[in-house]
Subunit: 198 residues, 2 copies
Amino acid sequence: MPVTRGRRADARRNVTAILDAAVECLSRDPDASVADIAQAAGIGRVTLYGHFASRGELLDAVFSRAMRHADAALDDLDIEGDPRQAMTALIRSSWRIVSQSRALLTAAQRGLPHGRVRELHEEPLRRIERLIERGREQGTFRADVPVPWLVATFFSVLHTAADEITAGRLDEAAAPHAITGTLLAAFTPPGQPVPAPE
Amino acid sequence: MPVTRGRRADARRNVTAILDAAVECLSRDPDASVADIAQAAGIGRVTLYGHFASRGELLDAVFSRAMRHADAALDDLDIEGDPRQAMTALIRSSWRIVSQSRALLTAAQRGLPHGRVRELHEEPLRRIERLIERGREQGTFRADVPVPWLVATFFSVLHTAADEITAGRLDEAAAPHAITGTLLAAFTPPGQPVPAPE
């Protein structure tokens, strides 16, 4: 029994070391190989493949963990009070996370099946959904289009900004204003003035 | 010489038959294989690989041709006159094309490198860019964010709608209103009222 417990603890340590090394390698180079990651984790490739059957499986695990961390970080944000102010705060905090993980995001988009990155955002997107619903009830956000569409718009605008920066078409410094301005406008009910982002 | 000319004409006919068969197969099933496409084109797989070295190369050619056709179709659209009305017309016509080619788009997103689908849109996006610039000069569209960002938003909202329909999160009938409403709002200058899409 102590042997098994020891082995399990070893396995857990290995998995953590692999995931940490993967984040480090993929943040430097979104195309980093399994061999690069195993080396950075200080383990053999065979050991790595014992935990993750393929590069895709490893990428999926890395990105899932990153999303859990992001979701936990956003938990600390106060999004009660005025829906538009709360949305501005949520956009900024979400963008800070997306922007810091841009290389990792590129790795996930290149290495995971189309649509999987969006799937892995289900949990953090629930927070956006709740805030949109509250803002609609109060007349702050538009109610003439479906809630899931506004959630999709939120996701899409943030990830488009990341792609545009990576492609060299958007200046990183201009991104926060562009993102906030676009989303606040997109959420405004027809007939109401577009708010100027601070 | 006549032999060579005859062979060249054969090759052209083969390429056209392959591209036509690819559109047909991929529209039915975005994961259609090279073997499926060769069979539908009535040629052997070896002949197909003589023209396109890989499924990716074939997909790229199929999608490039589709973009040229789309661009030619949009050429007929009158986008002079009131910039907001012209934008509404351009959004509708563009969406009609994207929506009709949704399966082909899915095939391209799954089979081409991340970012390539956007790259292949450069030509049709120039038309959007010119209209945005004209609308900014006339004060109809917002000038506090860069033009390429508004172009990226246009691309992103249309393709998000296609993805959302494919994922079963957006009703196809609700898409035109959602897309037009979101883009017209996103382009409105701060302080001006969000237009109600007709």
